[in-house]
Symmetry: C2
């Protein structure tokens, strides 16, 4: 039962409950109960509730996203690079779907926590990498819509007859199309 992986077991149970019921409605008592331990045991591994949720963010979202940003920063700012950024970001998302859904649905709750600001920083950095600074407003909307499309498609259309990977692929396609349209001006050609 209780080996050296307790820390990660706490993270997993916490994420499941956070994503399912929301951050504020999930109490440390519930997390502890589901694990078969007490609240005090949680406090041995994590200093605070915020510390717990931040550690989940670090391990499952911040690290992969930072790697992507690091890679992208060394690339030329061509359309191909942008499309590849989207493709890799799509992979980040699918590797941590419950976490991203959780962050998406709990923006208000996370706003004052460090994780809210840190996630926002990363999305804005990605946005800077795929859009052109002096592009017209419509093109900027296309780029931010591209990122938002990938974010939201995983959570909406949940009761469609399509598989998750199909949806992710379709969202990526639409996102790439939006960025391509923003890259060389008018999509109608």
């Amino acid at each position: 039962m209780s080996r050296g992986n307790t820390r990660q077991r706490i993270q997993d149970v916490a994420l499941e409950l956070f994503a399912d019921r929301g951050y504020e409605k999930t109490s440390l008592r519930e997390i502890a109960e589901q694990l078969g331990v007490t609240k005090a045991a949680l406090y041995y591994h994590f200093k605070t509730k915020e510390d717990l949720v931040a550690s989940i963010f670090d391990d499952y979202a911040a690290r992969p996203t930072d790697e992507l940003i690091d890679w992208a920063s060394d690339q030329p700012t061509s359309l191909e690079t942008k499309l590849e950024i989207l493709r890799r970001y799509s992979e980040c998302l699918s590797g941590a779907e419950p976490l991203f859904r959780f962050m998406h649905e709990n923006q208000a709750a996370l706003r004052d926590l460090s994780i809210g600001e840190r996630m926002k920083d990363r999305v804005l950095t990605l946005l800077d990498l795929i859009r052109e600074e002096d592009a017209p407003l419509t093109d900027q909307v296309r780029c931010s819509s591209a990122l938002f499309t990938m974010h939201s498609t995983m959570f909406t259309m949940r009761d469609t007859p399509f598989a998750n990977d199909e949806k992710r692929q379709a969202a990526l396609e639409v996102a790439q199309e939006l960025v391509a349209a923003a890259h060389h001006g008018d999509p109608e050609g």
Copy 2:
């Protein structure tokens, strides 16, 4: 000070706090304090906290959206109709921007409340009106992305040098473009 408009003053202050600090973090005590009354006075006008937030939703979001849906249901399902639906929905959004932002950022908190389900119903109805049922997945993503683009553009890009109406117009343009692409198949022509 206390005339017959107390009910709406409560709604306004509540919405402001809900949008600013989040639903769960806003207590009835705070709302009452900001109004210069006590919690008990709030309970005279609204049976519960959920009742209060539902009344705001009814007055500022449900009613305008239902009118739009009623109108749209009597129209032919042409591309022109769809584009007009988006245009009118954009107006709904701009007429109740703080409320929609609040709902967007507090999905997890509102999920178990009636308002969560009721908003979702309306968005799905709108989605049904602008997409084709047997369209390929990519086109369905385009349509849901169109709605999401309008939703999100008001809240993201908050520190851009563009005015709110400009952004709303740009979001509408991109949304219409997405639905047009979904309507007659391939956007590349």
